[in-house]
Structures are given as structure tokens and as C-alpha cells.
Symmetry: D2
Subunit: 364 residues, 4 copies
């Protein structure tokens, strides 16, 4: 007989109902927001779809900034619900240009909602969030920010910035579980969601989640997933011990060292620092070299590089320095392994200088 | 500074992509099915909504058997997608009567799909699944079975019974995690789902999941939740070590001992054995006694009884003997604590005889 | 290739050195002692052997109270180190009689150390600890108390009682790990240990452990076992959340209900309540029935009874209500399963009355 | 009230008795030995002390090779038991010279036992094990090998080499728990241990452990520590999945790359490759630089270097590449961080060349 042994994942107890409220408060702390915090028991892409499904209805007009496939889907979900959506699409793999946003807003004074992704892990870019939000604020437009990748890696002061809905997931810079997500919902956003026609009785209904808020406990159909909630607590414990500012600073240092290393290697990062995310750094493979082959060569050293995805140009590679990877050891291994892969492909590069630059950045 | 200590839930590695196929095969074993097995990274209620959303379209005609709120929602989701749905609703807290199903099918020869819940944990009843499926088979009607509560507690031979879509969750009799679910999809069901008009790019799209099947790995947007997949493996390890038939037999014994105990106590179970589930046993509180007070009294002994929910009559209490609770110790504690609660409320009952009956059932 | 999957026990990080001191303080809280607290990285039997090896030397005279094999070994270890030891042995399976202790002390005014086990899990008895300690206090004799089984199940106020060395393990009533143990050492005990001839450089040397105290961190050869220390923290978290007094009261209630149940069953416990431990209850099997057969019959119900061990009379069975087992559900299952086993062996007993008695005890 | 939450280390079940035999067999596979395998529930230093205590008695003559404090203690423990011991001590931080061993054996034909440490993690050296064992074999002398640090990092074929007692711990190259250890005992060694005068009833008695072998299950006093045994299973699962030869090769590669990196940095390793262990690499700090300051500088990059310990020269630093650290990423970070620390202290070194050399070694 196959004997399974003991596994700590056996017999996990139910998550105590009275702790959902505490969890929500702790997430409010991460977001620096006094808005309502909703927990969604599914990956963050579901929370995003739920936001779109819950806001969308005929008569709603939205400006949707697209810098990755997620942005594209968001527009599609809004349209599915009957909304009128204008997508403005950035250059492939680049952040949106603030003038394009201003122009689009000026062109259509009837816009009710603006949606934008804060940082894209698909291409390593950062959108000019505070400038975009300022434009929306001036015009009284509600805002939806996809902060799934950015939360913990960039500062995100939801109330100060005036974000109506911010969606986050714990699985990236926060280093937590991937099976749940959370969002903040302002009073203005609730008014839009709860006006006539709100979908109900669906995983995509934020209106359903309001019941949860009312009694301070989980009130939805289906069984709560205890592993996800306990793992979220564990992640919050770590974040609170490290300090949110220190967590962001650690990601900024990793990004800065990665960029310094790549520059010294002779293959500078894809976008300038001001437009780059702190979570992954994209670098264009030299002409004539296939990213897949470079990734395979790095993989033989035990270092995981990945291709850019979505709308990013095909020759981008990504060096990941998110969460536990925002550390000297990983940053160094990423860059040196990339250099070794280039060498092996016959492309000269200065591994030496790259190591120096990374050490120097971290030693400052 | 708050020091979080070590928590085994920190830094869980990614789930290896090549193991999704293995997981699916193991679930196929549980379902005794060679149909395609899809994994959904959300609680089973989402898989049910996805089934309805993926099947529903104008022109589809469905007969929907309602024995709990889940059944009610299923009809609603089908209607939302444009389908024509006839609900047949059982008496509160009781299984559907087979004649009602036959009559409804005879009355409308254009029905394409029949949907039914196998066992209801809300009221502890079991629908006459094989008889219902036989009626559908004779008429060439596709079938959707919600086996979320029943899988592992009752035998469920998907291919032999001719079920087109069976939806399960690991969190009940299988004793596993709640943050994912699975379903089997027959060729006929795929044809219905993939015909023109299939929704795409949504958590509710089964058509999206077909891509997953094609390359044998996770291919959906969003990050896979490793804890859920590793915990599902742990549950399958245990089930395979115990044996699926032994697992079902253990639930049947727990149900039988609970019923014998309640009868001896002087408060027989709500439905006769042939119509009862193996997972929870519902019992009507004696007239004049509030279920809530009895539950509180049992709770003081550390024993958790619950109220019936949904369409079940308000005076039902439930004794849970699902998963790890399908054991002598829990069955005995449930019934004796219920007896002690009755006593405390001034209602006479025979705790003695109940204990005897449970011991005798388990000692046979 | 065999694929091991993820196991949370992989890659456990080192235990942070600065937390040993915190751990020791928390254990001091459990023992209500300001003595030095030493952590020993081995099961508590090793801590006991180390105490004997560290105290013993030619010229030391000890009175050793023997109520189980552990007591016997303790005397042997003292003798091995050169001490003169007088064992006083209780009746098999019974606590020591206080008059015997007084008599032995009176007979030999040169005794330096008195050693006694607080509660015996081998036979379920409790020695009259405070009376014994009073006798030693009056005579200025140092005392060693084996509180491995009793800690958490009985109150143990080390400083108030004037215990010089108390040895505990976390694996019984405290519900913690078994791979480490702890002891409190008074100033007087240190003086005895550190006087000329103290063994050094050995797992059995308490003098070595003093180095640990001096710098507040682990200072011994060998690698600290992180799992044990993290698991001890987890146990202390639970104990502090429940409250030490509540933990002791929970064990007292379990013992009391077990005894009431056995009495009602018609097979009273082995020793009267005043001489019984709160951790396990021993009961003599009726004449003519083999304990092993009764244990096997209970085992078929999934209930684990055990034989008495060591010096306990051969016909004793033990019902365990220690740690998580100190709960209504386990107490009830233990007694009813024992009753069912008696019945099956043809011995009449009143399972009914036993269940009643247990419910009544817990409902008070 | 402080709420401890759920911790997977709560409520760990007992280790099933029937699995000790399986564990022992799996360890026999690691050691490539058909000798009896004993499990000791304590860190490996206790197993070593037990070996000495169990072998030692008046009349026994031992040659004890000392290349670290552990070797020194081993001689002391043998002497404590009455044996006559000749220590031969290597130069500080260096392996023993084979001629010294031969000379000592020739000088005293009455030697019964030879003891040696295979690899020293205190100084990163490797003793010439097979040559030493050949000398003993020729003379019919029993051998004790401390393989605690080396097992998994170097090949160790116990039966082929003719080792009588090999002591191992899972906590180094095997990547397992530190709270237990194991040893192989040949028939000849048993004869020595069990001859008249064997200590009994002690953590230091191997004779006690024979009882364990006789009934194939744990038979010692005290509670088995389930966490340690389950964690050992997890480690063995990983090792068997990787393959013992691959595990050794991975350590050899890490050592080789570390040495190449240090040489290119301009600060070659302490001992030549043939005399170096695969587990840690020691390097002498340049004259005038304090190891402690260099360690602190590397620590600011998140890289942990350590001082040499024991008999190693005071200016040695150690780079650890044991277990999970036997990987490109850690080797690279170790060497570059050491280089950065040298730079910061004003000592020039070629970080560039070091990175190159490490990449080149791993890319071969």
C-alpha cells in the first residue's frame, strides 16, 4: 500500500470567521486606505474581472489605458457589460505617455471611469500613475488601478492619490499566496456599483461582497479556503516585521542594481529608470540572438530568466527581482547568468564590470 | 519590532507545470472517468457558475432540479446566459421525487440539458441520481451533476452513469483544499460549449480551459496558487492510500451510526436512510426548542452542530460526519452532545441508548 | 523518477540565535520560576540523565523515590556517578506514601538530594508533591522533580514550592515537540553541579550549558535543530493564548469526566482521585479479560487505549486525556470504546450510564 | 487575547512505529552498507559521544586522528571510559598526513580502534580517508569514521571501504533535520560494544539500541520526536529524487567553482583541491584584515560568511556551499561578496575575474 506519510497540509482547520475583519484592516494598512477592503477568494485576475463586470453597464463611459494584455482584457470586460470604452494603447512594451492620456480625456468630457495598470511585470514598465490620477481628479473621473504587480514594490498611497478602486494580489512583491486577492472600494465607486443593474449572485459581483462588509465576516456561498487566508496572514506578519517602506526600498535597490549591472555588461535595460518597474527588469536580447536560447543557457546555471509576454517586443528578456528575489544574491546571479549566456552565444560582454557594478550599488 | 518567526507557509515554491496533467489524471481516477478533466483555481461554486455560463446561450433549453440554493443559482446563471430554464423544485429539505423529473421531461421534449445536485450538505439529502440519469440517457439529454458535496462520500462512476459534466471540490469528503475545484467534460459537453458564442477570456469560460488541455500545462492568465495544488496532491495521496471504496464505506458507516444513534436517542433523522446523504445528517429539533440554543449547548462541550441552511426547514439541525469527521469518535460526540443539549433544554432523551446504538453499529 | 513534491519540512531556516533567551523566559513563565532555564536538545529522558550525571559524585547522598522505571533509572544514573543512593519504592502502580518518605529522611540525616516524579503516565498516579517538598524544605535538602508528564496538566509553581531542579518536556500536556526539553536550576543546584568534579564536554553535562546562559545564545557543539525550536514556539503561542490555568483546568475536567464515566460503566479507576494524575487514567481490566484483547477491540473503533507500563500491575489499561485529547470528544470515545470492548468480551457494563456521567460532568 | 493562528507544526501525529525499519534501510542505501543502521534521536555529536562511550573500556587501545575539536572530544570520551588513547594531531587547519598515521600505527601494534573525521566543516579540509582505512584494514584494526559533514558531499561507500562504524547527520549536505543522527555498526563493532562491561540504560549506550534492531521498531524510553523523523523522510525523498551521485557531483562542482573564483579574485583557497572538502571552502584573510570585519561587510549584502573554528588558524574565513547552497547562485554571491568586502577594506581584488571563473566553471 502506498503510504502518504504526514504532510502539514493535511487537515487544515477552518479559518476563524472573526479574523476576516482583521485581515481587511491589515490590507487597508498596506494600501494606506480607509476605503472598504474586500477579499476575493480567487487570483487577482478574477478580482479585476469582477471590478469590470460590477462597474460596466450601458451608459457608462470609460477610458482604458492598455500597456499589457491585462489592460486589454479589462476593456473587453467593460464592453461585455455594456459600457462604452475607449482604449488608449501604449507603444509595445512601453509605459503610456501622459500627453496621450490628457488628450483622450480632453477629447471626451463624458468619461466616467479611467482604468490603468500601475506596473507591468510583462515588460517591466511603470506607468506615470500620479500624473494620470491628477488628470482624473481634476475632471472628477473615478479611477481603477491594477496594482497587482506593483503593491509592495512601489509606494501606493490609495487615499492620498484618490484611487477609487485599487486591486492587489499578495503573490508578487508581498511574497504571499496566489489564491486570493483584495481591493479597496471608495464611497464613489460603491455608488456606481450599487446603482440599478448591479449583477448579483456571481463570483464577478462586488455587490455580493457588500454583504460581507455588513456583518464583518465571510458571507458568500462556497467554502472559504483556509490555506490562502493563513498564508496571507503569514505574509502580512513578514511585511509588518520588515516595514512597508523597507520592503519598497528593497525592491528599488534590487532594480537599481540590476540596471547598473546590465549597463556595465554592455546591454542596458529596455526602458530608462524613471519608466521602469522595481519588480522585473526587461532587457532586449542583442540582435541575432534568440531569447529562448539565452534563457536555456541561464537555466543550466539554475537561474530562471523569462521571455517578455503580451504586447512586449519579442526580443525582451526579463530578470525577476520580486519578493524574496529582491536580494543581492539573486540580482547578481540573474545578471551574471545572463552574461554567461551571452558569452556562450558568442556575444562579448563584461561580466566582470557587471559584478562590480552590482556589488558597488549594494555596498553604497 | 514584531518578529514573525518561521512559518512553513512562507516562500512556497511554484507548482511544477508538468504536474498539472498528473493531477488531472488522478482526479479522473476518483471520478472513474476518461472525459477531459479541468482544474479551476477557485472554489467549486465558481466551477458551477462557469459551467452554466459556458453552456448557456439563447436557444438552449434546460431542466434544472432545485433542492438547495445552489440549484437555484444554477438556473439563474443559465438564464443570465440566455437559456430557457425550467426549474423543478423539491419539497423544502427533501430530495426530488423521480416522478416529478419524469413528468417534466415528458412535458417538454425539447430539453437539451438536465442539471441536478447529487447530495445536499444544506439538508443532508441525496437525490436519486442514477434514476434521474437513466431518464436523461433514454432521451439523449446532456447532464450536469453537482457532485461537490458527494464525491468521496458516495460512489460516483461518471462514465458508467453517463454524466456529461461532473463538478467536484476537494474540501468535503475528500478532505482537501477549498481554493480549487475540478470538473469532467464529455465530448458531447465540449461540443455544446465550443459551438458558436462560447464566452472567452473570463474566469467563467470553460472554452479558455481547453487551451490548458491542449498543452498539458497551466495556460491561463494569473499566477497559479501553489498551496492549493500541493494540498490537493496531499489529499489524493491520502485517498489513494485509504482506497476510494474504503473512503465511501467509511462515510456510509458514519451516516448509519449517526442515524442509529439519533433513533435510539428518540429523535429520528429528518429523511429515511435511502434518501439521506452520507455526509451530514439533519434532524428536526423537537417542537418548542430553538436549534440555536441546542447548538450553543453542544458548543459548550466543544462539539460543533449547525443549522440547516437554504431551503431546509428552519428547525433542522445538522450533524457533520464528513471527511476526517467520518469516525466513531466524532459520530459519538455529535449525538451525545445533541442529547446533552436536549436534556439541558428540559427535553428527555436516551443518551444511554444512543451511545449503545453507535457502539453497536461500529462494532459490527 | 520519483518526484518528492513540496514538503513544508524542506529547507527549514536556522533558528535565530537571539531567540533562545526569549524561549527560556517563556518557559520560566510556565514553571513560574526565576531560576535559570536550560534548554536541552534531546528528549526529556536525556535531560533527566544529565541532571543525575551532573549532580552525582562520590560523597553525595540521595533519596530517590521510585514510582516507575524513570525513577529507577534516575537512581542508577546517580550511582553510576559515584553517589550513595537510597531508593524508596512505592507499591506497584501506586503513588509513594508520604510517611515512607518522612521515615526514610528521618533515618538518614545526611541526605543531600531528594528526587521524585510528579505524575506518572505509566500508571496514571500523582505523587504527593507539595508534602514531599515540605519535608525536604524543612531539612534543607535539595530537590529534583521530574515534571515531564505533569507540566501543563497540574499546577507547578517551581519557586513557590522551592524546587531546585524541575525537568520538563513539551510533548505531553503542553502539546509540543518531543525532541527537546528544559529544566530550571536554582542557585543551590548550580553550586552542587559546579563544585569540583563537574563533568564537561558531554551531552550529559549541565555545566556545559552554563556557557549558554552566559552569552544568552546557543553555544554548544552540534547544529541546533530548528524544527524543534520553532515547534516549541508554536506550542508556547497556543498555551499563552489558552492560559496556563485554563490548560490545567481542562486536564482536570477531562480526568474528572473520565473517572465519572468509568465509575458509571461499573469499572472504577485504579487509584482514588486524590492520588490520580490528570493526564491518563488507569483502570484494571476485569478478572479474566486480557487488556490486549480489550485494546484491540477499542482499536477497531479507532480509539487508542494502551497497556500500563513499567511497574504498573499487568492488568491496567490506560485512557489517555493529555494535550489535545483533554476534550469531551476524546474522553467520551475512550470510555464508550472501552465499554464496547468489555461488552464484546462478554462482560456486562453500563455504556449508557457512562455516557450520561461524562455529559453531565462536562455540562456542569 | 493573543491569538496564535494556525501553525502547521501544531498537533503533529506520532511517527508510525513500522516506518523506523524503512528509514533505517533508506539510510543504509545512502551509506551503501548492509551493516546494522541505528537511529539516534539527538544531534550527531551525541551519536559520536555514544560511540566512544560504548566502545571505551579499560584495555582498549585507540589511535585518534585529530583535525578539529570534534576529534579532540572523541579521544577525551574514549579516555573517560577507560581506554588508552593516542591522539595524532594534524597541523592547524590541515588534514592529517598519511605518513603520520602509518608511523603511529607501526609504533604501536596493540591498537584496536582507529578514529578519524572524514571532512571538517570547521576548516574545509578532507582527510585521506581511503588511504587511512587501507592502513587499518591491513592491520585488522576496527575503524570509526565521523562522516557527519561529508555524507552527501563526498562519496562514502561504507562496506567497500570496510568502515566499522560510520556516524552521519542529515543536517549538512543531505539538507535534512538536525535533531537526529544515524550510524552503521558492523558485526565486529557489535562484538566490541557488547562484550562485558557495555554501558546500558543511557542515551550514550549503543547496546540499548540493539533492542531496537531486534523488534524492528522504536524501543527506547522517552517519546519519539515525530517532526525529526518526518523531516528525515522528506530529505530522503529529495535525495532519492536527485540521486546520491548527482548530489555528490553538485557539491564537487560548487567546491570547484568556489576555488576557481577565489583564485581569480587573487586570494586562493587555504588548502589545495585534493585536500579540500566539497562542503565549505576556507580562505585566509589577507594580512592586516580582520575576518570579522570582512564577514560584517559581506553580511550587509545579505551574504553569510563565517570564521573558521576550532583548531583552524584564526585568519581563515569560510564560504559555505553545503546542501541547498551547493548552487551557482550561492557560490557566486559568496565569492563576489567576499571580494566586495575586501575592496571595502582597501584590498584590491578582481571581482570581475572571479565572476568569470565561476560562470566558466558552471558553464562547462
Amino acid at each position: 500500500m502506498f503510504d502518504p506519510g504526514w504532510n502539514p497540509l493535511h487537515g487544515v482547520p477552518s479559518y476563524p470567521a472573526e479574523r476576516y475583519g482583521v485581515l481587511a484592516d491589515r490590507i487597508g494598512g498596506i494600501l494606506q486606505s480607509r476605503s472598504d477592503i474586500l477579499l476575493v477568494q480567487a487570483e487577482a485576475v478574477v478580482a479585476l474581472e469582477a471590478v469590470a463586470a460590477s462597474l460596466a453597464r450601458p451608459g457608462l463611459s470609460a477610458l482604458n489605458i492598455v500597456t499589457s494584455p491585462y489592460g486589454g482584457w479589462f476593456g473587453q470586460w467593460l464592453r461585455r457589460g455594456g459600457a462604452t470604452v475607449r482604449d488608449i494603447v501604449a507603444e509595445p512594451g512601453l509605459p503610456i505617455v501622459i500627453e496621450a492620456v490628457a488628450g483622450a480625456l480632453d477629447a471626451d468630457p463624458g468619461i466616467d471611469v479611467l482604468a490603468v495598470v500601475h506596473a507591468e511585470s510583462a515588460s517591466g514598465i511603470l506607468n506615470p500613475l500620479s500624473e494620470i490620477l491628477a488628470l482624473a481628479r481634476d475632471r472628477g473621473i473615478a479611477t481603477v488601478v491594477d496594482a497587482v504587480a506593483s503593491v509592495g514594490g512601489h509606494s501606493l498611497d490609495v487615499d492620498h492619490l484618490g484611487i477609487d478602486i485599487a486591486v492587489i494580489g499578495p503573490q508578487k512583491a508581498l511574497g504571499g499566496p496566489a489564491g486570493l486577492s483584495a481591493l479597496s472600494v471608495s464611497r464613489r465607486a460603491w455608488n456606481m456599483i450599487l446603482s440599478d443593474g448591479a449583477p448579483r449572485d456571481s463570483i464577478l459581483s462586488l455587490a455580493d461582497l457588500e454583504a460581507w462588509l455588513d456583518n464583518g465576516r465571510w458571507a458568500l456561498p462556497g467554502t472559504p479556503a483556509p490555506l490562502e487566508f493563513f498564508a496571507l496572514e503569514a505574509a502580512l506578519d513578514r511585511i509588518e516585521a520588515e516595514g512597508l517602506e523597507n520592503l519598497v526600498a528593497r525592491h528599488a535597490l534590487a532594480a537599481s542594481a540590476t540596471r547598473a549591472g546590465l549597463a556595465a555588461l554592455g546591454t542596458p535595460a529596455w526602458v530608462p529608470a524613471a519608466r521602469a518597474s522595481n519588480l522585473v527588469t526587461a532587457v532586449p536580447a542583442p540582435v541575432g540572438l534568440a531569447p529562448v536560447a539565452l534563457i536555456a543557457a541561464a537555466g543550466r546555471l539554475g537561474v530562471e530568466l523569462t521571455e517578455g509576454v503580451g504586447t512586449a517586443p519579442a526580443r525582451l528578456l526579463r530578470l525577476n527581482h520580486t519578493g524574496q528575489r529582491a536580494a543581492f544574491q539573486t540580482v547578481l546571479a540573474n545578471v551574471v547568468a545572463y552574461g554567461a549566456a551571452l558569452r556562450q552565444a558568442g556575444h562579448s560582454c563584461d561580466i566582470a564590470a557587471a559584478s562590480e557594478a552590482i556589488s558597488a550599488t549594494y555596498s553604497r
